[in-house]
């Protein structure tokens, strides 16, 4: 028994089976991310001005990461083209750049995540809000943590610049564009803290959708990197027995990789710039 068109294209469709498969899979992925992007729009449109933060993400780092992914998109095509020309060495060289870019992207993204997990916002009982860092930079504290640790006072380093839209009344020392603002620690009595949250999904719907979208994307980057690495390493021996089939596999994995990059091309402006 032999399934036709696994390697050669079917004449009337011009496609081999796996190519049809991956395009269908990507169509479904478009709907998955489409659902989340639609949710982003829905939540943002429904939010009032003060509830939707702006400028909390690091744009230079995001830009750099975008460049990293675009580079990998180029090398993945070059790798495939090298195979088409029969140059396996060049393929390996280009694909190793792709893998390094993928890992680099994930590394940079983890640093961004870490920064968020140690960055806090305090909602005070008198309606003021302040953002900054807790002494010792602990991760993932929330209101419940203060209760459990039975703390009386929180040593807090407010941000020199407060990022929220100016309609909100916020604490002194963290007000808008105030130049040369004090960066020294303040002591906040726990009794005055209504809510404490790091920049984690529970902080706000903004961070909720930010982490959902970027984490799902990061999982896709990771999956793509694993597939590409597997085809670079253990599965590459197929090149010797079935070069055409191997080249097809690189093409299919490359299509997936382009999709992952494309998602980021949408994520970056939506989350960082808008």
């Amino acid at each position: 028994m032999e399934i036709p068109y696994t390697v050669k294209a079917r004449p009337d469709t011009g496609l081999f089976n796996a190519k049809v498969g991956i395009w269908l899979f990507l169509a479904s992925e478009v709907m998955l991310f489409g659902g989340l992007f639609s949710s982003y729009i829905f939540l943002r449109v429904a939010a009032d001005d003060s509830a939707w933060p702006h400028g909390l993400l690091n744009i230079p780092i995001g830009t750099f990461n975008t460049a990293v992914l675009i580079t990998s998109s180029v090398t993945v095509v070059l790798a495939w083209a090298s195979l088409k020309l029969g140059n396996f060495k060049k393929f390996r060289m280009y694909q190793s750049v792709t893998i390094l870019c993928a890992l680099g992207f994930l590394g940079i993204k983890s640093i961004e995540y870490k920064d968020k997990f140690t960055h806090y916002e305090i909602w005070k009982t008198n309606g003021e809000r302040m953002t900054g860092h807790i002494e010792g930079s602990p991760w993932f504290w929330d209101t419940e943590t203060l209760r459990q640790k039975n703390m009386q006072e929180l040593t807090f380093h407010p941000d020199p610049k407060f990022y929220f839209t100016p309609k909100v009344k916020h604490a002194g020392g963290a007000s808008g564009e105030e130049h040369g603002a004090k960066h020294e620690a303040v002591k906040v009595p726990v009794s005055q803290i209504k809510r404490l949250s790091a920049y984690v999904p529970a902080h706000s719907t903004y961070f909720g959708i930010y982490f959902t979208l970027t984490a799902l994307h990061a999982l896709h980057v990771l999956a793509g990197a694993i597939v590409i690495a597997a085809l670079w390493g253990p599965l590459a021996k197929m090149w010797r027995t079935e070069p055409e089939r191997f080249t097809n596999r690189i093409e299919v994995s490359g299509l997936f990789w382009h999709f992952v990059d494309l998602v980021w091309i949408f994520l970056f402006p939506v989350l960082y710039l808008l």
Partner: protein
């Protein structure tokens, strides 16, 4: 080097499968589309029975609210614990269903029937077995993906089933899992809703892999000569269904991830600001939208309705053509209609949400599209009705179920119109009328089509025929009791009986003539319940017939129904690789009673004779 060499490299056992595969390879980790189809079929039939069983228990609660469940009350108590099954305060007898358990059964009945029974049976089981045969392919395009698809479905099913036995019990926020209820109704951290979401993720993965596989197979693996307009209608139905699954399910996956975050990470995707829970302000950021969940859910939910019905229509079309011994009337209309349905089903979802206050303009839009989508559905049904005209009909069991499908689905479809109109839906929303409506579509509709399909393809699957007499007994009893179950629910719905009341409406009982639920309406619960249990008994002839016939049924020839499509031009049961000779297709799918031919059917692979006139 060709493909088979590679397959042999990666899976040495597959190569050996030509000779004598081991038990595991043949029945459990099979990559053969026919075996996977039967795996889907058996598993889905088990879940169908389980979902039916949950319903029978719920019907006890509705008819005899607060009384202990007879016979199995104590068994249920030992399985589910004190929280779920209580004591009758007067007699002290164990077996009284708690409201929470009723809610869990309601939610899981819907989930199991839709996602674990009907879709896998209609789309995956029949699709897997029949589609590659009908298009003349040796297997699916991606056999290993096919196997993984079944395994994901199985794992998802096990997770759903296991959720009954965890602390707090299964999900109990309705099969729609509306937020914020789904986030707040379960006090435990890991709870039935968590299991429901994880289970759904597996089921969604399964149907994604299946859908990719079906579409790729139909596009790529059609036999030479099998042009698009020579495809049997069942293949078209599966093709469109696969697209619905491919594109409608992912947004629900996105929603499931967000609801999981709401439940476990404390986000507020679906939790509004200022929410008060049990008298205290909820400690969440707020800013989310319950409407968002409903939009994402119904974006899947409505195409899902057509996922349930389209394969059934395909099966019925095959059987009607075969048993009227004449071509389907309006084949092209059927094909275009099924495409129109597929497209339109993506833009009707918010007709489930008229009562949410999303706005009259949006309601008007969805009301319009909903009315438009009824047109292709009516075209399909009309074509099938007209196909009967002038046929010399063979009334075997498969045909009887198919014939019953037509009016039953007709009732289901037509009673949907008042729900599609905003103004009448405001009255009928969330009443038993809705239950009656969609059950007419799915139960005597799709399930009858599935029974028809089982009786029809059974000889191809097993090489033996099912018993016709007991098949007819099964049919007549099912038809009667189905109607006795669902017909009174229309009346209950008109009277305003809410669909989710665990006491069967007793809370709202009033004297006749006073606003509220009259006793005559509430009293129908008893009759419905008895009919439901009788319907359960009516399945016994089917179950016995099914298993008896697998081993002892009358031997069937390769083409016992004298059918034209390629699935009947194979050895029986079809071997690995399906066809014993290369297949070439020369004609359309339904060439029955062609003038000038000796036999009253002309198989698709029969070459044209010299055309001399």
């Amino acid at each position: 080097m060709d493909a088979s060499t590679h397959v042999a490299h990666a899976h040495p056992h597959v190569h050996e499968a030509h000779h004598e595969p081991g038990f595991l390879r043949k029945y459990v980790f099979s990559t053969d589309h026919k075996m996977i189809g039967m795996q889907y079929g058996f598993t889905a039939l088990l879940f169908l029975a389980f979902g039916f069983f949950l319903m029978m228990l719920m019907r006890w609660q509705l008819a005899y609210s607060g009384q202990p469940i007879p016979v199995i009350g104590e068994l249920l108590h030992s399985l589910l614990g004190d929280g779920a099954i209580g004591k009758d305060p007067t007699t002290g007898k164990l077996g009284v269903m708690s409201p929470d358990l009723y809610n869990a059964f309601g939610a899981m009945h819907g989930t199991i029937m839709v996602f674990l029974a009907i879709v896998p049976l209609a789309f995956a089981a029949f699709g897997n077995f029949v589609v590659p045969l009908q298009i003349g392919a040796v297997d699916m395009a991606f056999p290993r993906v096919n196997m993984v698809s079944y395994q994901c479905y199985f794992i998802g099913g096990v997770i759903m089933f296991a959720s009954f036995f965890i602390p707090g019990g299964a999900a109990r926020s309705g099969w729609t899992s509306y937020s914020p209820l789904a986030t707040l109704a379960h006090p435990e951290f890991i709870n039935g809703q968590t299991f429901w979401i994880i289970g759904m993720v597996f089921l969604i993965t399964s149907s994604l892999l299946g859908a990719v596989n079906f579409i790729a197979t139909i596009i790529q693996l059609r036999a030479p000569g099998m042009t698009w307009m020579r495809l049997p209608f069942f293949v078209w139905a599966e093709f469109v269904t696969a697209f619905l699954l491919l594109l409608a399910f992912p947004p629900l996956e996105a929603a499931a991830v967000m609801q999981l975050a709401d439940n476990l990470l404390g986000t507020s995707f679906f939790l509004p600001s200022g929410m008060v829970v049990a008298g205290n302000p909820a400690e969440v950021s707020g800013g989310g939208s319950p409407l968002l969940w409903q939009h994402l859910f119904w974006f899947l939910g409505h195409p899902e309705v057509y996922v349930l019905i389209l394969p059934g229509m395909g099966i019925v079309a095959e059987i009607i053509a075969n048993n009227t011994r004449k071509p389907i009337w309006g084949y092209k209309s059927l094909v275009y209609s099924v495409f129109a349905i597929g497209f339109l089903s993506f833009i009707v979802w918010a007709h489930h949400m008229y009562l949410t206050g999303m706005g009259t303009k949006i309601s008007t839009f969805f009301q319009t599209t909903t009315m438009i989508i009824s047109i292709p559905s009516v075209i399909i049904l009309t074509c099938l009705f007209i196909s009967l005209w002038g046929g010399s009909i063979r009334f075997n069991t498969a045909m009887l179920f198919s014939l019953a499908f037509l009016p039953m689905f007709g009732i289901g479809g037509l009673t949907g119109l008042p729900l599609g109109f905003n103004f009448s839906d405001l009255h009928l929303h969330d009443t038993y009328y809705v239950i009656a409506h969609f059950h007419y579509v799915v139960a005597p509709g799709t399930i009858f089509a599935l029974f028809a399909g089982i009786y029809f393809w059974f000889p191809k699957m097993t090489g033996r025929l099912m018993n016709e007499f007991w098949g007819k007994v099964h049919f007549i009893l099912s038809l009667i009791f189905m109607n006795l179950v669902f017909q009174p629910m229309f009346a209950q719905g008109f009277a305003g009986m809410n669909r989710r009341m665990w006491d069967g409406g007793a809370t709202y009982a009033t004297a006749d003539g006073v606003v509220g639920l009259p006793q005559s309406i509430i009293g129908m619960n008893v009759g419905i319940s008895h009919a439901a249990w009788a319907l359960g008994l009516a399945q016994i002839p089917f179950i016995i017939n099914f298993f008896y016939s697998i081993w002892r049924g009358k031997k069937a020839s390769d083409n016992p129904w004298g059918a034209t499509t390629l699935d009947w031009q194979t050895p029986t049961p079809p071997p690995h690789g399906n066809f014993d000779k290369p297949i070439e297709v020369h004609r359309g799918p339904y060439e029955y009673s062609v003038p000038g031919h000796a036999a009253d059917f002309t198989p698709q692979n029969e070459p044209e004779k010299h055309k001399k006139h």
